[in-house]
Symmetry: C2
Subunit: 163 residues, 2 copies
DNA sequence: GTCATATAGAACTAAAATAGTCCTACTTTG
DNA sequence: CAAAGTAGGACTATTTTAGTTCTATATGAC
């Protein structure tokens, strides 16, 4: 129902891979083979992650990529933002006439609140957890407190979520 | 960063409109003109909402649509699910070899948890609130407790979210 | 009974976003 | 200076999404 793009999912995979071997400098090709993704794709993603500051890069011979900061300090929001951009304000801002009928804008305001709630959830999830390396000792993230067990439906375009 | 499709947004608009005039039977054409959306589109959406049980319909002369149940009993998840489907399990279920490398699945599990957290947030938001008709008396929904004020970034494809 | 006014449902078309590839330039080290 | 890397942009193909149209069905008024 709410989707994360395939590329964002791939990016998470790559970051998780890097998180698993901290300090090691990996090339795009290595990460591609380790994750099973196509090399050009991995390369493209790493470039973008670099631009967004999530990974460090070294050029030239023996170059490669490194996590930009400890996995514990990278949250799901960071990844989402890096890959999909803060997107943000669209037409509504300029064409007031088109969307600012009373109920419409109320709806808009409400969605915004929904969004904040979601961001909040995502801020609590670190790459460490995403990578399945969660520090057992730390307090379980807010997410672990008993939810109503609804069927999961985030779908990463095409590939994931067995159920 | 997380997107809701335009049609889902439209659907919310339509439902909000219906919520604003409870008991009145509105035709697709009326709702179209009230919301400013194209008539065929509104019609299509209403059909789907009907199939999903969110609106009641009456055919024939003087027919039209009515909210399926009180606005207070329709949540954002209901709307999302109705419009975008529970989507759910994709390739990963069948092609285990492709996505069940260790870290991959860990990532999958984590996303699933994220998703549950999001659903939980959405369950608390009723159509009443989305329509801006929120009962002032009731306890403010979980969403109203002071969030870190991050920039909002749910984008309803193209049209909305001024900021 | 039949005509006007509605919804129901499916098929089709068009547009836009996503995903994926490729090519050229720049950097570093042996 | 050659080999092994990353940087970045342009381009193509695919998939989703959005939107329209057409046919069938139901209801009530005359």
């Amino acid at each position: 129902m709410l989707r994360i793009s395939k590329l964002t999912d791939y990016a998470t995979l790559i970051l998780a891979q890097l998180a698993g071997q901290p300090g090691r400098r990996a090339t795009a090709a290595q990460l591609a083979s380790e994750t099973g993704l196509a090399c050009p794709t991995v390369s493209k993603l790493l470039k973008q992650l670099h631009r967004q500051g999530l990974v460090q890069s070294t050029r030239g011979l023996h170059g490669g990529y490194l996590l930009g900061r400890p996995a514990a300090e990278i949250s799901a929001v960071n990844i989402l933002d890096a890959m999909e951009g803060p997107v943000a304000l669209t037409e509504c801002a300029s064409h007031e006439s088109h969307c600012c009928i009373e109920p419409t804008c109320a709806v808009g305001r409400a969605w915004r609140r929904v969004n904040l709630a979601i961001r909040r959830s995502l801020q609590d999830i670190t790459l460490l957890e995403l990578a399945g390396l969660g520090a057992g000792g730390a307090a379980p993230s807010a997410l672990d407190r008993g939810f109503p067990v609804a069927v999961s439906t985030i779908t990463v375009r095409g590939r994931r979520e067995p159920l």
